[in-house]
Symmetry: C2
């Protein structure tokens, strides 16, 4: 039976990889545009590949060190039999996560030029190319995550009662790499962006993506390493961690559902992958149409098919265990509904058609201070509806689970909801990677001085990319917030297994849990501080490097090519140097808390860090998105348009929002899950 | 015995009030300066008194409505015997809090002119006057709080086992008024400040406090209604809420300490008041000296005498109950030490001699965006050390309490630490009120176009005032963070009393408590959003009103006096309109949570809201303070000085910081305690 169910997962993953291969072959056979375009694109590709190579070398060293730590933890706490398996799972997870990031970037830097070339003749074709480029990443990353979990599970013996607790090493490896990938990439992309803007647009008064600015190529490289590689690693570890967390909950229900309850999460996600493939293939660009229409339609198709698959999957795998299985279907629908609701709310807060962005644009008329005050107030406000939605979803899916009448059914209800939300992951990842590809293609068109009509086509696609990037951040945080509750319970189940005593109370009224909770919330703020600071420090180096080149009159006159590689090199060094300390801090701090204050205080730490992390990520992502779109709205001619005082104010707000939405915010998504998998894997030293 | 102990409290309060009366008489007999000064001062006084009158009328209506609600809650939950007493205690607390605010402001608007007059000849005398003006407020507010609690306790029957649970109505009344006073005053002061700066300094290019700017008087009024009246009400309710919370913990220890354990908090605070009087009298201004030296010396004197009194008080009241009473002394020392440590940390983060402010000033050279990114990053960072300090203090004082060997001793240890911190309250309040008085005196000197030497004397005092304001915010948040833990436990004791069942577990791992916690954290962010938004909305009205007046060339030429009263009126209306919704929201929201999700989820809500509130208040207060001082540092000539690009950038950062540090941040202090007293008073409907 195990093999049959897992074979389905493996089969779907192979189909998805096959589809990705076909899409890749088609894409690579497309036209690569003018020589000028190729020149820009080559520079981006070389820069991105150089960064990724150096970044992953650093991460590889950290991974090996940590693998040794994990081995030692298990070995010296009398669990020598698990030491090698857990450390190996960790390394495999880390390696898969790294490959996921590299693949996402490899595709992106090859798709951007083809999208730019297509934009010479057709915006529908440009959408098709960039969207399919995104789809390749989405399919590969999701199937690698599912395959990785499945194969690790089989390799570790497929013992339903014990193996899931070891497979968590895989998830931790994935989170570990994702943290550094997202943080390093996020610092790179925003340091280059902020640096390029400040020294180019503000100081020298030349337009964005101007060929004379030596930081522009670094900026375009940043889109790939931050948005593609970073988000790829982020969602890879999300699916891994959340699936394994749900599998651990399934262990408690083994008497009822057998191994089906444990494998349910990955089977459902593979069915979701199938639904996403259908959704992806339904997207077809049309000249002159709003690209968001086609992508939204694809999303709804994916969501509806996922819902049908979910109902079928529950009937197939869980109905034999409970007569009231229909309530699990409802719980799954709650998850799917939450994913749609989160996209709508994010759209409301970051799109210029609605009140928040309009208010920020209005406030720009009285200067940068009011622009920022208003934007920050909007950011804080964006916590309200999402928190209520998460709360309702948790309570509702828990209630559904309870109604099935099985013991621990409530918790499993939240797990089913999480899985419902995760089913659309491959499609969301597609939309997400589409964003930076379109952004890059726009940059290539701009820098190769293509005709205006080509630029206009790309601007439309670029704007859609900004929207999808904001939406997928909303999705990432929404799915994380449902998932963490089951990850907490997985942690508690793990501790109970280790101590042989029930552990189902985390008493916030006891002084050590309260202090743990306080320190957990603090860590989130401190981490955000370090991430933002890293951007401003690295941006400062970029500014200094560009200023030196601007002193050369030949570069400003456009007669000499600026030294792009020098700036890329400085940004790379800065990003790598500045990612290590915050990354190690968030790993070391909970370990210290756990060792000194023990597992219950650490649970308080973990839970309140998670709550604060979710809310702060919402604040940072949405305020950043709103500032960005307020600026874009003004650039369409509102409030005086480009060059007006309002525009200058809006540019300052946008610059502040950059590290918020693309460095600190997304890194917090990863942090939340890293804390959960970290505590799970290192549980033996906290008791 | 009751009477004897309480008589000491009452006697010390009467002495303090007597000292305040003497200081007031001396102060009022001083010279009121030039006619020009009096003209400015009169305008400030009239504006402040008009605002306070209208503000308290609104608050009075809200108070009466809520008193009826409280009566109904008790009446319809079968506790008719407590209904009238609790509602009455609420009204008395509200009235006392209002009086405290009015007194603080009454003194301040009379001291400012005398300080300005003294500055004509001596900076030592100017310090003496402004500091004593602050002392009058500090002494009156603290003694009113202690008298109010004592007399309410006696009036309600002085039954040690039951009365403390009713006296909490007093604390809730105080918090209720303080919330609106601080919020309304905070909106007023910063809307006027931001409005005046944006339209005066930025748009019209005229200096701060220029007589031609119709918003300057409103700005000076704001210092009084926000900083004096608001902070006065804030610290009044702090001492009330924290004393009563500690008294409730004392109830559990009645078998050990008798009534001494219950009255211990107010007796200690009255001894602290005595210590503060000695500290206050030790401060003597010296011409040419740094005013901070004299004030710091006074603070250390107060802290040392408090420590001695604390040891004596513990021996006297608690030693008969436990042989290990010395551990309670140590717990109290932890509290006193924490108050000193918080002042040092705040100083580090907001003073230009240290790394954080210097970094912000450096970052101003590359523009407003980097100034704000750096400042925000500093703000986030400032949560780290305070959170660790609070954590250590809680654990240490709890441990001390445990070492006394009495049951529940740990909790009482945290109560003693809180009381230790509260003992210096009157002195801190003195330093706090000194700030806006010095600020106002500076404004009067500026607007009456006094000679440069007088301005220079006032600038020095004004700078010291900025420091003391930042320090006392640090103290307020530090004491709140220790106190809330005992307030939670008071809430749990209250629930246990009402249900007749033990209530000592708040299980964060249960889904409803977790959702409660999530919503609690969210409420804090939402409230901050509304507070900041209220400032920007009100500031917009101020800007519009000033622009109309600036169109009059006679005003700009200085030949016609601008219509100050019109701007004061608009600011008043805006502040009152915008304070009601956020205020009612934070009251209604927990009530809804408590009614629908019951007391345990509400406890999770309360605790995590508190954690988030403490940290967010630190972020907002300290980033605001750091931006302010970075600007001031640049104005001393660093980074190009006044008028440079760096200065312009720093002004934008400072403007953003205004609503952070003077509206949202201080309102969060009150919110934290309001939530605690609210849940205590309304406990009957949450079961």
């Amino acid at each position: 039976m195990i093999d049959q169910v897992l074979l389905i997962v493996i089969a779907i993953c192979i189909i998805a990889l096959g589809l990705a291969a076909i899409l890749t072959r088609n894409l690579l056979s497309q036209d690569e545009g003018t020589p000028k375009m190729r020149e820009v694109s080559d520079a981006i590709r070389v820069g991105a590949e150089a960064f990724i190579k150096r970044q992953y070398s650093t991460i590889a060293v950290l991974t090996i060190v940590f693998a040794v730590v994990i081995f030692a933890v298990y070995y010296f706490t009398g669990q020598g039999d698990l030491a090698l398996a857990t450390a190996a799972a960790f390394i495999v997870g880390a390696a898969c996560s790294a490959i996921a990031g590299v693949v996402a970037m490899w595709i992106a830097v090859r798709t951007n030029i083809r999208t730019a070339a297509a934009a010479q003749t057709s915006d529908g074709k440009a959408l098709d190319f960039s969207f399919r480029g995104g789809a390749i990443s989405g399919l590969i990353i999701t199937s690698m995550s599912l395959l990785g979990v499945s194969l690790t599970y089989i390799a570790l013996g497929a013992d339903p009662m014990h193996t899931p607790f070891v497979v968590i090493g895989f998830a931790f490896g994935a989170s570990f790499v994702a943290l550094f990938a997202q943080l390093g990439g996020g610092i790179y992309t925003k340091a280059a962006d902020v640096g390029a803007d400040l020294v180019g647009k503000v100081e020298a008064g030349i337009p964005e993506d101007d060929v004379r600015n030596p930081a522009t190529i670094a900026d375009l490289v940043g889109d790939n390493v931050g948005d593609c590689a970073g988000r790829g690693a982020d969602l890879f570890e999300s699916t891994a961690a959340e699936n394994i967390g749900a599998m651990i909950l399934g262990v408690a229900l083994f008497p009822i559902f057998g191994v089906n309850g444990i494998l349910f999460p990955i089977v459902m996600c593979s069915l979701g992958l199938l639904a996403s493939m259908i959704g992806i293939l339904s997207v077809k660009g049309k000249d002159g149409a709003d690209p968001m229409d086609a992508m939204n339609r694809g999303y709804y198709i994916t969501a509806i098919i996922s819902a049908v698959f979910l109902a079928g999957g529950v009937y197939w795998l869980l109905a034999p265990g409970t007569a009231n299985w229909i309530y699990f279907v409802l719980a799954g629908f709650v998850g799917i509904a939450l994913s749609v609701a989160f996209l709508r709310v994010t759209l409301y807060y970051t799109d210029h058609h609605y009140r928040p962005v309009m208010e920020i644009a209005d406030a720009s008329e009285t200067g940068a201070a009011t622009n920022i005050i208003t934007g920050f107030s909007v950011g804080l406000e964006t916590t309200a509806i999402p928190a209520v939605l998460i709360g309702i979803s948790l309570l509702l899916s828990y209630w559904c689970g309870t109604m099935t009448g099985i013991p621990n059914g409530g918790l499993y209800g939240t797990a089913v909801a999480t899985i419902g939300m995760l089913m659309v992951c491959a499609y969301v990842l597609t939309m997400d990677t589409f964003g930076p590809i379109a952004d890059n293609a726009g940059g290539i068109v701009e820098m190769s001085q293509a005709p205006d009509e080509v630029r206009n086509r790309m601007d439309k696609l670029d704007a859609a990319g900004n929207t999808t990037k904001a939406l997928t951040k909303g999705y990432a945080i929404g799915s994380a917030s449902l998932a963490v509750f089951l990850l907490f319970n997985a942690y508690m189940a793990d501790i109970a297994k280790l101590t042989g005593k029930a552990f189902d109370v985390v008493n916030l009224a006891s002084v050590d849990v309260f202090v743990g909770a306080l320190l957990g919330a603090m860590l989130v703020f401190l981490f955000a501080s370090l991430a933002i600071r890293a951007v401003s420090k690295t941006a400062q180096s970029v500014i200094d490097a560009v200023r030196i080149q601007f002193k050369n009159p030949a570069i400003m006159a456009g007669t000499q090519k600026p030294d792009y590689a020098a700036v890329i090199d400085i940004t790379t060094q800065g990003a790598l140097r500045n990612m290590v300390v915050p990354g190690l801090l968030v790993i070391a701090f909970p370990v210290v808390i756990g060792i000194t204050m023990k597992y219950e205080a650490l649970a308080g730490f973990l839970m309140v860090a998670t709550i604060t992390g979710i809310l702060l990520a919402l604040i940072l992502n949405n305020s950043g998105g709103a500032w960005d779109n307020a600026k874009k709205f003004i650039e369409t001619g509102a409030h005086g348009g480009k060059g007006s005082e309002a525009h200058k104010a809006a540019v300052i707000g946008d610059t502040l929002g950059d590290p918020f939405k693309d460095t600190a915010g997304p890194s917090l998504h990863v942090l939340i899950k890293l804390l959960a998998t970290l505590t799970l894997v290192l549980a033996p030293i906290f008791i």
